[in-house]
Amino acid sequence: MSDKPVNHARAAEHFIEDTPHLQFHDERLWDMRQKRDAQMHILPEWQELREEASRIKEHTLSRLPEYLEQFETNARKNGIHVHWARDGAEHNRIVGEILKAHNARNLIKSKSMVTEECDMRPYLAKQGVTVTETDLGERIQQLDDQLPSHIVVPAVHKLTADVAKIFAKDYHTDPEIRDPHLLAEAQRQAARPVILHADAGMTGGNFVVAETGTFVVCTNEGNADLSATVPNLHIATIGIERLVPRMADMGVFIRLLSRSALGSPITQYTTHFRGPQKGGEMHVVLVDNGRSARLGMEDFWTSLKCIRCGACMNTCPVYRRSGGLSYGAVYSGPIGAIIDPTFNERKYSTLPYASTLNGSCTNVCPVKINIHEQLYKWRRVLVQHHEMPFVKREIMHMAGKLMGQPRMYRAAIKATEVSLSTMPRFVLYNWLNPWGKHRENPHPVKQTFNDWYRKNRETAAKPAAAPETKK
């Protein structure tokens, strides 16, 4: 796969040009943010819950190996097969082997971002396994051959008409359907026979409980429960950071998850999986895929606290206007921008810049990840590692020098004023000047504040600071 830097700005520009999609996307996600706010106001203990969730996650991450082993021991006691995958390739191989051992060719799968991370579907396709997504949004994205654009609502960037077109192609429904209920019904009719005849089911896992050796899956469509229970073979793919120590901790996270995500008090289905069903088999694949390495990154390890609610995406004014696909990554939005570079610094070097650092993401995060501060820190790291376009780097270098030399700086300010007042519009508003593409330039002034002060407060003007050092 190419590691050419993702051009977020250009992809975002493209998304913005499509007004109906942009407007729907922005309003839909803002609506989720507002519903989240309403839920927060209902619970006076909201900030305490966030604090508690953050504390539990930090504690767990600080003793991750210990808790993982505790989970493994208890899960095995429950009759669950536990596998460890260092990376995506190992994960895919493990899943492939389990399926092969059962001669399973049809896998139904509930939403799981980790399998996207591992690029599992193409791998299994080559092994002759048909993978069918059972989550409505995820299925739409699968049929359209796109990554999910949002962690929780994967097809949120699509309008009903887009879905109708996709379903018409694959399900032979009327491409003119505009009723979402009819489209949901079409998916139901198409998915049910596949589910009934599946050889194996796969889910993710929102939470893994060390003390009990169990895991919890939260959905709103019930598709995970079907995927896990209709076939006799259930494989759950879970990132190693999804752990909590005790069952008692679940109360904190279940209260926060759906409220933060969609602004609903709880997910429609919150299922605790304790072991295989009678006559069946249950496998848990615990995936590292860079997580241990991230745990060792001083400034960035707390991103592992993430419970994948998507609240940071919903509140992010940049994400809402650029769409998830513009991030060119499995994880988009603010959380994506701080974890994607841990997978590939060069490819995702532009993402920490796809933010105004406004900090709203940090405020909504149910586990109190300091997202915008990590975005800031990532920029420093990427510049140190030379993952910044040469021109921009040079401009900053020159600006930095200029700002240290008052006389040169004064001369430069003069030049700016002269150019703004005398340069013809077509020069100012050409492609070299992105500022002027959708904005007027600031108006030129007769004198700067500095000039005014020299003229009007001359006597008060104090001598310069220590003289500049000659370079």
Binding site: A9, A12, E13, I16, D26, D37, H41, Q47, T315, P317, V318, Y353, A354, S355, T356, L357, N358, S360, N363, V364, Y376, W378, R379, L382, V383, K392, M396, H397, A399, G400, K401, L402, M403, G404, Q405, P406, Y409, I413, P434, W435, H438, R439, E440, P442, H443, V445, Q447, T448, F449, N450, D451, W452, Y453, R457, A460, A461, K462, A464, A465, A466
Partner: protein
């Protein structure tokens, strides 16, 4: 108390009236204010871009200019945020720490330090929409933030409501970022401009004649967006209203 006045580059070059109003206002309030002539920039643009080492010269100059003052006041939230929270391209000497700990954004200086309770000279017979920059709102916490569900408070609003004749309009998304974001406004021009247009339309639809802000960088961006999109709304720095500007 000797005050060093820092006038950020946007104000110096494009909004000198906001700088003059800041100085005059502090003088009206009986403050001993000086403006060191050899000032340039606080280093924020470089720091924000990740080019932190390039901010060293600006930060060192800033300290040379301002270390001798008891308090440093500036009419800019984002620059204050840089000095206070991210000013670390140079070794953290006692002088640097003094500067960082004693730098204030104008509104918080008036509200928290001087505790000004009247602006008898100020009258502004217009409906205004307040724009809190993210620097003042979320970094300096000069107002409550909608995401945290705090009991509502607003230092700029406290000050503005002491001005005769002023009326307020509240936009639908009062504390959404306007999209300036420093170099973001250029490197992500399309998203930035879209955010800016949305912001000024929101204020306009709420009935604001003016957008008032403590940050000229946000104003410069929003004004550019409003003018291009033909949104009839005017812009003013909070210092100008508090200093008695009538329009």
């Amino acid at each position: 108390m000797k005050i060093g006045l820092f006038i950020p580059c946007y104000i110096d070059a494009f909004y000198p009236d906001a700088g003059i109003a800041t100085l005059e206002l502090l003088e009206k309030l009986g403050q001993d204010v000086e403006y060191p002539l050899d000032q340039t920039c606080c280093g924020q643009p470089m720091g924000n871009s990740g080019c932190n080492s390039d901010a060293a010269a600006a930060e060192a100059l800033f300290v040379r200019n301002f270390a001798r003052y008891d308090k440093i006041v500036m009419p800019s939230g984002s620059c204050t945020h840089h000095v206070r929270d991210n000013f670390d391209a140079i070794p953290q000497t006692d002088e640097v720490r003094h500067v960082r700990e004693n730098t204030y954004e104008l509104v918080e200086f008036l509200h928290d330090i001087l505790k000004v309770d009247a602006f008898p000279w100020a009258e502004f017979n217009h409906t205004v929409g307040l724009h809190n920059s993210c620097g003042t709102l979320r970094a300096l916490r000069t107002a409550s933030m909608s995401e945290l569900g705090e009991k509502p408070f607003s230092k700029p609003m406290d000050l503005l409501s002491k001005v005769k004749g002023i009326r307020f309009a509240t936009p639908k998304r009062p504390d959404e970022c306007c999209g300036f974001g420093g170099t973001f406004s250029v490197t992500e021009e399309a998203v930035s401009a879209k955010m800016g247009v949305d912001k000024v339309r929101d204020h306009h639809q709420a009935g604001a004649e003016y957008i008032v802000s403590a940050d000229s960088s946000c104003i410069m961006h929003q004004q550019g967006c409003a003018e291009r999109a033909g949104v009839p709304i005017r812009f003013i720095h909070i210092a100008q209203i508090l200093n008695g500007a009538s329009q």
